[in-house]
């Protein structure tokens, strides 16, 4: 989960990483008196915010108010701006880059520092990036920082070393996937500042971070409702609501639907379950997604076919949907499951491809509503 810049900077402040003086507003009237120039930064989670017009400089209070009234409520890359961060403008001498990311390949944190900051790190030459692979069991140690500082020309070595240590503490203590300072600014007085702050937190670790507020920008209402109910659901822009058991199988089903010329409306992973209620309640979400057809793809193992059939039959009563439903049911207890469904007039198939083809056909030919 991404944090907003102002949230990330608040964490930086708590850990003693210098951030420019500033405050957050959600209405123009909250702008304070400014004699000097300020930066107004739209608080959205999309990348490339500056180029899309989300960062502006104002020379005083009046101009700040004018810009704020334009920015608040405006759309930046399709996202409505609800909050602005107003900051003192830095007197920039140099821009550097510093981050710690989760390195999936090496299964450890990776620290990256470059004296070429302020641009996308992917566009910086490899030899200009100093990399440090960190063993999570020992964390950042003094010798690692000495190695790094030896390779850089910066004068403020002591301060950089301190910031690196604190950044790693944030990475670990806040369960981060990424902490990034880009640019890390050297001002005309030689002081270091985190001019921007990016933090991505591991969603699976949020249970141990009650202090971190969950954002609503990265998911839809239906996705959040599903998550609260315990399902993995993704909204898409097509027609077919896809329910399957297991993330891989659900993805494979979406791929097959697209291959046969139709488009999925939702991805809904039932996971493994032996409770018909869980199957039934998934249909509450299916109904809410307002699809043109429903495709259920179950390969019974831990989740048995008769359990799923029981759930579907119950859902027919509780969440009836007036669109075609095609079920693929195969694996453990498939015969019992199929009989229960067919007795209720549900169309069943044994192979995934038959069911997907049929469902795509129904939608493409307009057999739905």
């Amino acid at each position: 989960m991404k944090l907003y810049e102002y949230q990330a900077k608040e964490i930086f402040r708590q850990y003693g990483i210098p951030v420019p003086e500033g405050y957050v507003i959600d209405k123009v009237d909250d702008i304070k008196k400014h004699e000097e120039s300020v930066v107004l930064k739209a608080q959205v989670l999309v990348g490339g915010r500056g180029k899309a017009g989300g960062i502006k400089i104002a020379s005083g209070t009046d101009e700040a108010k004018k810009i704020a009234s334009e920015l608040l409520g405006a759309q930046i890359k399709g996202v409505r701006v609800k909050k602005l961060l107003i900051e003192k403008k830095l007197d920039i001498e140099r821009e550097l880059y510093l981050s710690i990311i989760l390195d999936r390949r090496n299964k450890c944190p990776l620290l990256m520092f470059s004296e070429e900051g302020g641009v996308d790190i992917e566009s910086v030459d490899e030899e200009k990036i100093i990399k440090l692979y960190i063993d999570p069991l020992i964390g950042i140690q003094g010798f690692m920082i000495r190695y790094l500082l030896k390779k850089c020309t910066l004068e403020q070595k002591k301060e950089l070393g301190r910031i690196i240590k604190q950044l790693y503490r944030i990475f670990k203590e806040k369960d981060c996937e990424l902490v990034e300072i880009n640019p890390l600014v050297v001002d005309r007085d030689g002081k270091l500042w985190a001019a921007d702050a990016k933090i991505i937190v591991d969603t699976d670790a949020l249970y141990r971070h009650p202090e971190i507020e969950e954002n609503v920008e990265e998911s839809t209402d239906l996705e959040r409702e599903a998550k609260k109910m315990g399902y993995a659901l993704i909204e898409l822009d097509g027609d077919i609501a896809v329910i399957a058991n297991g993330a891989g199988l659900t993805m494979a089903t979406l791929d097959a639907i697209t291959h046969f010329g139709a488009k999925p409306r939702i991805f809904l992973d039932l996971g493994g379950t032996d409770d018909p209620e869980i199957v039934k309640n998934a249909f509450y979400l299916v109904k809410k997604s307002n699809p043109k057809a429903v495709l259920v793809n179950i390969f019974g193992g831990v989740t048995k076919c008769d359990t799923v059939a029981k759930g579907i039959v119950a859902a027919l009563e509780e969440y009836p949907i007036d669109v075609p439903m095609i079920v693929r049911i195969s694996g453990v207890h498939e015969d019992v499951g199929r009989k229960m469904l067919e007795a209720r007039g549900v169309e069943c198939h044994t192979t995934m491809l038959d069911a997907v083809k049929r469902c795509a056909e129904v939608v493409v030919k307009g057999g739905g509503k």
Binding site: L249, L254, P264
Partner: protein, 287 residues
């Protein structure tokens, strides 16, 4: 032969008195696995499917387990895994979904110092039909044979293994690597083991979007693997930035797309199936 688990595997179940732990203990025994002990703190002295339950792994070591299935809630996984590693267990399957990846990184790092193998987290485990099973894969899908299967998915693996069995293609070892961004084994690790394994004559890799495990595998196959490999990749139509059920199945900054993985495999001479059930055909074509 087979890899990681075989007839000499003695299985411990951590969290044996829980819903999952107790059910799958029974299923593992039916499969033919030698489940020797279970652990649930505070429940020592009980039995589950005839298997003795201990309060601690240290006490359970009197049954000489050499592999464990960890089926405890996510907040307790790190402690349980450390306990198993501390006591010298060399194969750990972590079933639990939702383990914070910082915990997983520490587990994987500690396992390395102990020379142990981590299967998972968030995967169905490992089975060598019908010698041993540590995990939750359904017993009905397997046949013994010479194809090694490694997958980042659960049910999709069952679907493919089942299709293999129905086409009279048996398996040496089937391993679910796990759907998290940090898991103990990568495709490269497993390819190395399958290459050394006498029983295995061909390998099936089941990948999905997110990370670079498939691209790394393709590179490794070009250099080091003599046995035929076929693959399937899930998530061709997944939108970027969305976590597709698995915590690890996410396209970030244009990285980890299905196209990139399929291209890498094809360049390495690895045929990629269009649908999961095409895998047996692809194997028959190249064998």
């Amino acid at each position: 032969m087979a890899i990681i688990v075989d007839e000499n595997t003695r299985v411990l179940v951590q969290g044996i008195t829980g819903h999952q732990g107790s059910f799958h203990t029974g299923e593992m025994i039916k499969f033919g696995a030698n489940v020797v002990a279970g652990v649930t703190p505070g429940k020592g002295g009980q039995e589950v499917h005839g298997v003795p339950v201990y309060d601690t792994v240290e006490e359970a070591m009197e049954m000489e387990p050499n592999a464990t299935m960890i089926a405890v809630p996510a907040p307790y996984v790190k402690d349980a895994a450390f306990e198993a590693l501390y006591n010298g267990i060399k194969v750990l399957h972590i079933l639990t979904e939702g383990v914070p990846f910082h915990d997983s990184m520490e587990i994987v790092s500690y396992a390395k110092t102990k020379g142990a193998v981590i299967v998972g987290p968030n995967g169905p485990g490992i089975a060598s039909p019908f010698k041993a099973k540590v995990g939750i894969m359904p017993n009905s899908i397997f046949a013994e044979g010479f194809v090694g299967v490694a997958s980042r998915s659960g049910t999709l693996t069952y679907e493919i293994v089942n299709a293999l069995t129905q086409n009279n293609i048996g398996q040496s070892t089937v391993i679910g690597l796990g759907g998290d961004p940090i898991v103990g084994l990568s495709f490269v690790d497993v390819l190395h083991m399958f290459e050394q394994d006498e029983q295995t004559k061909a390998v099936v890799l089941v990948g999905e979007i997110g990370g670079t495990a498939e691209e790394d595998a393709a590179e490794y196959i070009k250099r080091e693997v003599s046995k035929p490999v076929v693959a399937y990749i899930a998530g061709r139509t997944a939108p970027p930035g969305k976590r597709m059920g698995h915590a690890g199945a996410i396209i970030t900054r244009g990285m980890g797309t299905a196209e990139s993985k399929i291209r890498a495999f094809e360049e390495a001479g690895v045929p990629v199936a269009k649908f999961p059930t095409d895998v047996p055909n692809l194997l028959q074509n190249i064998l």
